[in-house]
């Protein structure tokens, strides 16, 4: 069967499964809508958390980015897993004991202030929308390549599916669809990785495979990769390119940001007991680690395969996948030396890097671009996002594997989008309406409102997908930096310091937020020409600056709270209660 038909069958079956689960697990109360009634088994919650967490970026982009960044890519591997240790040890059990619905709930109650609640709501909405924009782009890419519908239709189909299970089922529906989505995505990720590992090294375990020798030559895979890359002018794959302080700060910002992301934290409100919150964090990280330990293996396989297949090959002899992705516009080839043969070297092939295609074809039927070629010898532009999707084709795996990967990528994007939509809708209906603007609404009205805001959020997310803002990639740094600099310190101090009061917490959040946001906005949007090591504060890039924002938040909060009056006695009682699992 051809790829197209197989993809329709596999993706269609997966979608039918998600909808069936949604119909089976409809939410009937706000408790079920916000936190699935607080009765989810820790293993199920662990899987749901993993699916929630592993987005289109983890599934589609991460291995590709590491493939091209080499060792520097470690920041994502450590950064997006290490945060779970912070979450499990510093936040999850205590927030579960607190036992309300949302993150702003905790901040509002602990700091006895609706201002604090409002600041938390603003941070949360900003972080979540930033993230969703990225998911919808992922859905668009997969649909346009594998289902050959245009991106807009693809996004609308994706929106409709999420709409059904998020609006009907709330957290309850989302949780159980996410369990199914985790199974789909991890299977889809592992199968090609195992295949490729066997083909290249003979070892069926990819994690060991990329530390083994190649089947074709008596040399370790990573050593071979270094040699091949050095030959064509790249640095070694296993060497750092960024400065160590920058690597350190980016890793820390991603870790702390992960622990401060509201859609992840809220998952730990869904389990029955404090003990389950801890266990559940363990399961979540285990399920995440399976993908994250495989990704760096996939990255090194893919890079070596890519160089071997593409470099020094006549354009006419390139495999189908190369031309398919070229048609979509994510690969381009500019025949600089007019020999009809592809030269892949380091450096950007084109001025302004991203190709702008004309409608014309060149001498070899390649797509032509209007960009001026650069003076280096590189002739290839490749979008890093396609590595995982193209990997099975590059390695010549059977068609059903390619179809499976498409279903997995969609599962990853949809599950994360649904989790984020729920956080946004609960922030609006619960924190903004019920707790701040109109406390008199009944539970029924609140539930309706939650559904309406989820539906609105889906439409906004869809618009992001159809008209992707050009700055999606740049603002991802925002989401993590802001979570690290605003929400995380407020939560940690709320639990570990009884003396912290509302003035300290609010000033801390605002100063951390302002500092981080202005640093990122300055270097990414106002003056991108200064965005290099020379001008960075202590040599820290905008991606890593959230750490400094966090330190500022902590310092300001501690100073302000020590010179203002301590929190009321009830707050001391709240803190005492959340520190102990059982009893009052």
């Amino acid at each position: 069967m051809d790829v197209q038909l197989l993809t329709y069958i596999i993706v269609g079956a997966a979608f039918a499964l998600y909808i069936a689960i949604a119909l089976w697990s409809r939410a009937s109360s706000t408790g079920e809508f916000y936190v699935a009634g607080g009765g989810v088994h820790p293993i199920a919650n662990g899987m749901a958390t993993a699916a929630d967490w592993m987005s289109a970026a983890s599934f589609i982009s991460m291995a590709g980015i590491i493939s091209f960044m080499g060792r520097d890519g470690s920041v994502y591997l450590m950064g997006w897993t290490g945060g779970y240790v912070l979450l499990a040890l510093l936040l999850a059990p205590y927030l579960r004991k607190f036992g309300k619905f949302t993150v702003p709930d905790f901040i509002g109650d602990r700091y006895y202030s609706n201002t604090a609640r409002l600041v938390a709501v603003i941070c949360l909405i900003f972080i979540s929308f930033t993230y969703i924009a990225g998911q919808m782009r992922g859905v668009g890419i997969v649909f346009s390549r594998f289902l050959e519908v245009d991106i807009n239709t693809g996004v609308i189909i994706g929106m409709a599916i999420v709409f059904i299970y998020a609006v009907l089922g709330g957290m309850k529906g989302i949780t159980y669809t996410q369990v199914a989505q985790y199974c789909v995505l991890i299977f889809a990720y592992m199968v090609p990785a195992i295949f490729i590992s066997i083909l290249m090294t003979g070892n069926p375990i990819p994690q060991l495979g990329f530390g083994s020798k190649l089947l074709t030559e008596d040399i370790y895979l990573l050593d071979k990769l270094n040699l091949v890359l050095n030959d064509i002018g790249f640095n070694s794959y296993t060497d750092f390119n960024k400065s160590k302080i920058d690597i350190f700060c980016i890793t820390a910002a991603l870790m702390i940001g992960t622990a401060g992301l509201p859609h992840v934290i809220v998952r730990f409100f869904t389990v029955p007991r404090v003990k389950d919150a801890r266990t559940s964090a363990g399961w979540a990280l285990l399920f995440i680690a399976i993908l994250y330990l495989t990704a760096p293996a996939v990255s090194s396989f893919a890079r070596l395969n890519f160089v071997n297949t593409v470099d020094n090959t006549a354009y006419a002899d390139t495999p189908n996948w190369f031309k398919n992705w070229e048609d979509i516009g994510l690969i381009s080839w500019t025949d600089k030396n007019k020999d009809g043969i592809i030269q892949y070297r380091s450096g950007n092939a084109l001025e302004k890097n991203k190709p702008q295609f004309t409608s014309e074809r060149g001498q070899y039927n390649q797509r032509l671009v209007i960009n001026n070629p650069t003076s280096n010898a590189n002739e290839i532009y490749i979008d890093r996002d396609i590595m995982v999707l193209a990997n099975p084709e590059i390695a010549k795996l059977p068609n059903w594997v390619i179809a499976l990967v498409a279903a997995g990528a969609l599962a990853a994007a949809l599950s994360t989008a649904a989790g984020l939509l729920l956080v946004i809708s609960s922030a609006v209906s619960h924190d903004l309406m019920k707790k701040t603007i109109k406390p008199s609404i009944t539970e029924k009205q609140e539930l309706l409102l939650a559904r309406i805001s989820a539906a609105t959020a889906i439409i906004i997310a869809g618009i992001f997908g159809i008209y992707p803002p050009a700055f999606v990639a740049q603002v991802v740094a925002f989401a993590f930096g802001l979570a690290a600099a605003s929400i995380f310190p407020a939560l940690v101090m709320g639990i570990f310091s009884k003396r912290m009061n509302q003035y300290g917490a609010i000033c801390g959040m605002l100063s951390g937020l302002t500092f981080t946001a202005s640093y990122i906005v300055f270097f990414k949007f106002i003056s991108p020409e200064y965005n290099n090591q020379e001008y960075w504060f202590l040599g820290i890039s905008p991606e890593g600056i959230g750490v400094i924002g966090m330190v500022i938040n902590f310092l300001i909060a501690i100073i302000i709270s020590s010179i203002t009056k301590p929190p009321p006695i009830e707050v001391y009682k709240i803190v005492d209660i959340i520190r102990m699992p059982g009893g009052k």
Binding site: S212, K275, G582
Partner: protein, 87 residues
């Protein structure tokens, strides 16, 4: 201080001790082995992996999972000892 208060105090102290020890290991295995001391560790090679590289892309993640498992075990034991467990 009454018995309940002493209990609360020593439970929290024991909790903080567990958390700080585990977080030190968390820091050493990721920021330490994967970044700060990676040049030194890279001189050691196991199979095709330079050790610092392995820690940054594999080892640290494995240790993270183990840390949470150990944390669950220690905290459950502590909850039982202080009779604050929810069962």
């Amino acid at each position: 201080m009454n018995k309940e208060k002493i209990n609360k105090y020593s439970y929290w102290k024991a909790n903080l001790k567990i958390v700080s020890i585990l977080l030190s290991i968390w820091f050493i295995s990721s920021f330490g082995a994967g970044i700060i001391f990676s040049d030194f560790l890279d001189k050691i090679k196991i199979g095709g992996f330079e050790l610092g590289f392995w820690f940054a892309q594999q080892g640290s993640i494995i240790i993270f999972v183990l840390l949470i498992v150990i944390y669950c075990f220690l905290m459950n034991r502590l909850d039982k000892k202080f009779e604050v467990s929810e069962d």
